[in-house]
């Protein structure tokens, strides 16, 4: 089944990352990643643009353990039938070293592109499509490739977070490529309690390490996978948001409570109405925070570019 892909050096299908004895959770490290004072304050994100000179545009996002690189190539000419607009192609790859998810995907779905990668690519595509001015680039193709260099050690419930970082990285890379966009898309992941009528608890999703004790309905540690039975469902979602236009370009919400199968089906967990709006609003606020960072980084990158261009102009002057 791998014979079609001869360009890459593939890992054996059952490969697992090496685990050293020293890799046991280090209390010192855990202490350093203690939650922020407010559970709704976004964690620090590292963002850099233009790091791959060969690509038209690139961006690197580091958010907790998630390290994501997005590359944009294009607009390039596209063979085939005439198309008045550019075609966007998104693909997502997990590096084999990134986490256990890659192995997981291979075991589940088989093939090189795992179902998780495809799902993420589809979400990024859906989030970016409303933002890019595709009509400006007829007969062209724009390809976005997102590489997940490393993820958290455990992948329980972090897919939305990865998706959020991927969307932000991809959109910034598109801007870095100089492709015309309506607005930059930033995304934010949230987690919330489901099946509660009046009191929905929402947090910006931070890999489940928020353990704010003041919450009533949502007390458990998500990472141990053993929630207390009286707790309603946990939902996780990611919202892609164009802050300047005040438009949501994509959202993806799942019920990720582990005990869902055990609960009788007459009371499925759901979130709707005011609760859903609250979730969206919280996520959009988080995305706005990310946008502030993105704007700052872009302004800085622009200043540096301008400086190098003036320096180059000076050099030409001196040389001539």
């Amino acid at each position: 089944m791998y014979l079609s892909d001869r360009r890459r050096i593939l890992v054996p299908p059952l490969a697992r990352p090496l685990i050293y004895v020293d890799d046991k959770p280090n209390p010192a490290i855990q202490a350093s990643t203690k939650p922020a004072p407010s559970s709704n304050a976004a964690r620090k994100i590292y963002l850099q643009t233009s790091l791959i000179p060969d690509a038209t545009g690139s961006a690197y996002v580091e958010h907790q353990q998630n390290k994501i690189l997005a590359l944009v190539n294009g607009p390039r000419s596209q063979k085939g039938s005439f198309s008045p607009t550019a075609k966007l192609a998104v693909d997502v790859k997990f590096l084999p070293i990134s986490s256990d998810a890659h192995v997981l995907g291979i075991q589940q779905g088989g093939g090189f592109t795992t179902s998780l990668e495809r799902t993420l690519a589809d979400f990024i595509y859906a989030s970016l499509i409303p933002s890019i001015r595709l009509g400006q680039y007829p007969k062209s193709g724009i390809s976005v490739s997102v590489v997940v260099i490393s993820g958290p050690p455990s992948w329980k419930g972090v897919v939305k977070q990865i998706a959020a970082s991927c969307v932000t990285a991809a959109s910034v890379a598109v801007v870095d490529a100089g492709i015309e966009v309506l607005d930059i898309v930033t995304a934010c992941a949230v987690k919330f309690s489901m099946g509660v009528e009046d009191d929905v608890q929402i947090d910006l999703d931070e890999h489940g390490i928020d353990k704010s004790s003041d919450r009533i309905t949502n007390k458990m540690d998500i990472d141990d996978g053993q929630p207390a039975p009286e707790v309603p469902g946990i939902g996780r979602g990611v919202v892609s948001y164009m802050a300047s236009r005040d438009e949501i370009s994509g959202f993806w919400i799942d019920d990720e409570s582990h005990q869902r199968m055990d609960v009788e089906t007459s009371h499925p967990h759901s979130i709707e109405g005011a609760g859903l709006i609250k979730v969206l609003k919280t996520a959009c606020d988080g995305a706005k925070d990310v946008r502030i960072l993105v704007n700052g980084v872009l302004v800085q990158a622009f200043a540096e570019q301008q400086e190098t261009s003036t320096q180059a102009a000076k050099k030409i002057k001196l040389g001539s």
């Binding site: 607009p75 859906a126 680039y137 801007v175 100089g178 802050a243 438009e247 609003k281």
Partner: protein
């Protein structure tokens, strides 16, 4: 997908970080004060509203957004990261000052627009009579070697002047590869083009012999006349300043210089070869 209408989020964020945008966020909060555009931002981030569409016309790197309310009536929003440049439509006026449209101005612009139509190498958008100065966002020159307004776009568009290399010829057309689009210095060897025999020159179109106009390897300046089909753009050299700009002699391999509009001479061997030459510019 939900648009702003159905979401509860109402306020635009005060994110962009320049002096002018601080003014903009005040606008959004106050709900529409009068004349905040005595100065424009020096640079822009995609999605950043720049000015009211009443005062400026959107140029490359910007777009018109009717929902970006800046003093009413829609706004112009940046679509790429770069420097904000304002080009006044009236060349005698200083570029940075927006001028109100008066009758005399309109008349002058009509004249200039008329010359634009006659001047074959001008962009189509310049031919539209629009009293507003045009605002555009330009990328810094160092980025990917392209200084063209409008970002990465080395994508040929109708009426763009392109430099192409002739790949092969047949009696009906010359197949070319588009190397350079407009003023951008970024080269793309990927876009294909076709110069049909009837598009080589304006007169005696039926007597054109492609073989006596181009040879494979020539560098030709041409204009895009159509986006063409899936694979090729359609190009034309039917103008004085369009045609072969660089050709190698078959006899000696030396670059030739043009004698007149239809012949070039090799400086080494002295042989004269037939080409449809471009009128040398500058």
């Amino acid at each position: 997908m939900s648009s702003s209408g159905s979401t509860p989020i109402s306020s635009r964020p005060n994110t962009p970080s320049s002096a002018a945008t601080a003014g903009r966020s005040n606008i959004n909060k106050d709900g529409g004060p009068t004349s905040p555009f005595d100065h424009l931002p020096t640079h822009a981030i995609p999605g950043q509203p720049l000015c009211s569409a009443r005062e400026y016309a959107p140029g490359p790197g910007t777009y018109y957004d009717e929902n970006a309310v800046l003093g009413g009536g829609g706004g112009i929003v940046a679509s790429i990261l770069g420097k904000v440049v304002v080009v006044s439509r009236n060349p005698t006026k200083p570029a940075a000052t927006p001028t109100p449209a008066t009758a005399t101005n309109g008349l002058k612009r009509k004249e200039s627009a008329g010359t634009d139509i006659n001047n074959s190498s001008t962009n189509t958008s310049a031919a539209v009579v629009d009293p507003r100065p045009r605002i555009s966002v330009v990328r810094p020159a160092s980025k990917s070697g392209s200084s063209s307004a409008g970002g990465a776009g080395a994508v040929p568009d109708v009426n763009d002047i392109v430099l192409v290399r002739v790949l092969r010829i047949n009696p009906r057309q010359a197949n070319v590869a588009i190397l350079v689009v407009g003023d951008s210095h970024s080269s793309t060897d990927e876009y294909g083009g076709i110069i049909r025999a009837q598009d080589v020159r304006e007169t005696e179109k039926d007597k054109v012999k492609i073989q006596s106009c181009f040879k494979p390897g020539d560098i030709v300046r041409a204009r895009v006349i159509s986006l063409g089909d899936g694979t090729n753009y359609y190009l034309s050299t039917a103008a004085n300043d369009l045609g072969v700009v660089f050709a190698i002699s078959e006899a000696s391999g030396a670059p030739m210089y043009p004698l007149d509009w239809k012949s070039m001479r090799c400086p080494v061997s002295g042989t004269i070869e037939e080409r449809k030459c471009a009128k040398p510019t500058s």
